[in-house]
Amino acid sequence: MLVLSGIAIIVVGFALRFNPLLVVTVAAFASAAAAGHGPLDVVAMLGKAFVDNRFIAVPWLVLPTIGLLERAGLREQARTIVQKMRGATTGRVLIGYLALRQITAALGLNTLGGHVQMVRPIVAPMAEGAAAREGDAPLDGETRDLIRAHAAAADNIGVFFGEDLFVAIGSILLIRAVLEQNGIIVTPPHIAIWALPTAIAAFLLHAARLIRLDRRLGDKRR
């Protein structure tokens, strides 16, 4: 049971808002200690595991490009497009992005999206621009943060409940492998088809919530 101390430390550490890097480090020491490893062992294990997972850092290479485009006015351009569209609201912009993200992920185009390259420079400015049109009072910090958080959520929900419709995605290959090791043969399309009900439910449910967000934003600004 002591190995679970790592989980307890994560929960308490996150709840008390310590720096997450520190929380994770302490949790690693606690869990490894419970499994009988001394602190020096853990330092080496962490170092090795961190380096083994260095491929995770590759997508950050997009940052300089996004920075240069932001510097040249990408966010302002995204906002302008939305403000030229009559009838564009925060909720509708995000429903559109949710649909786009789900459909492209279902076609295996997971890379067409993401918080750094799509949400920050394009989707969030569009959603904010739809809420505060030219001549309106600027958004207060709380409303702005709420809209941005919704933009990030639309990206996550779209990709999670879209990618499982694509037969060559990691999760489906994992399902097939786990079942196959136990003598059960299933085909990827058969698994993918059973992701469809949840994909549709996710879209309808989240779209309904985004329509409610519009109403809430409308009330707030009136």
């Binding site: 049971m1 679970l4 790592g6 720096n19 997450p20 520190l22 690693a28 869990s31 490894a32 499994a35 020096l40 330092v43 080496a44 170092g47 090795k48 595991a49 961190f50 997972n53 260095r54 491929f55 995770i56 590759v58 950050w60 290479l61 997009v62 940052l63 300089p64 490009t65 920075g67 240069l68 510097r71 040249a72 990408l74 302002e76 351009q77 185009l109 890379t111 067409l112 918080h115 750094v116 949400v119 943060d145 709420l146 958080a149 990030a152 959520a153 929900i157 999670f160 409940f161 994992l174 399902i175 786990v178 079942l179 136990n182 059960i184 698994i191 059973w194 992701a195 949840t198 919530r209």
Partner: protein, 320 residues
Amino acid sequence: MIGLDALGIAAGLLPATAAIHHASDRGAPRRWRNVGFWTAFAILLMAGPWLPDMVNGCLLLMMVAFATIGLRPASVPTTSEAEREEGARRFGMRLFLPVLLLPVMAVGGTIAIADGRIGGLALIDPKQVTLVSLAAGTFFALLFAILLTRPPASAPAAEARRLSDAVGWAMVLPQMLAALGGIFAMAGVGKVVADGVLDVVPMNSPLTATIIYCVGMALFTIVLGNAFAAFPIMTLGIGLPILIRHFGGEPAIVAALGMLSGFCGTLLTPMAANFNIVPVAVLDLKDRFAVIRVQAPTGFVLLAFNIAVLALCAFPGASR
């Protein structure tokens, strides 16, 4: 051959740029802790495989120490709002092109050189084709953005540092959590939790077993931050022996909805840092749990939906 080592060296160029930029930012407050943080990250990515594990571990702890005392970097000069408005008018829709080039390159590369061979030569490790395409895509996108917007020579490095600073320690968290996942696996955390669940709850009907399996997948994912890590444990513990073998559930349905229940857990956990904590930093939000808060209602309702679909569709003709 271009493989993981080359990818690490490429990935390290970003923190190395940030470190050099900080180091040359004379007179900036807290300059050296920022230099220290990004230098350690760059060394780990670029030289880590050739250094002793102990050295890597110490570099990592150094980064944790800098992040804990607070990086609080000085701001970098960038364009004014008026200049950006002017840029938006001047470049218009063309500003989107470099952003689109990236997925085109990533997907195109993955399809075109699936076996890692270019012109008959085995140039790229076939296991890393997707990431190599992505990395190549970021370089071409950067080149494209430079040619398009013609910024001053100092701008690319300054922008690399500005956004690295904006993301800060969150850039390291996903990799750190992956390392923690390895330690959890070594310590047997998954097995302890699975045994706990199995011992406590009686599973005498398909419905209770379905609820335990789906909620268990979500809970496990919340703890481990990753539905992929939770899936084998829960499926071998409950899904396969009880839902499939004992109650005769249809394997594809059980497994698909189990995985999707895990994804509901991913919406709810700070352990899935890439999805839930990184955007807080990227979008400069005040509340660390802002994204999770917004996602939670959707996550809970979809979990209930998954349980219903599994219970209703996976057991044809079973007595309930």
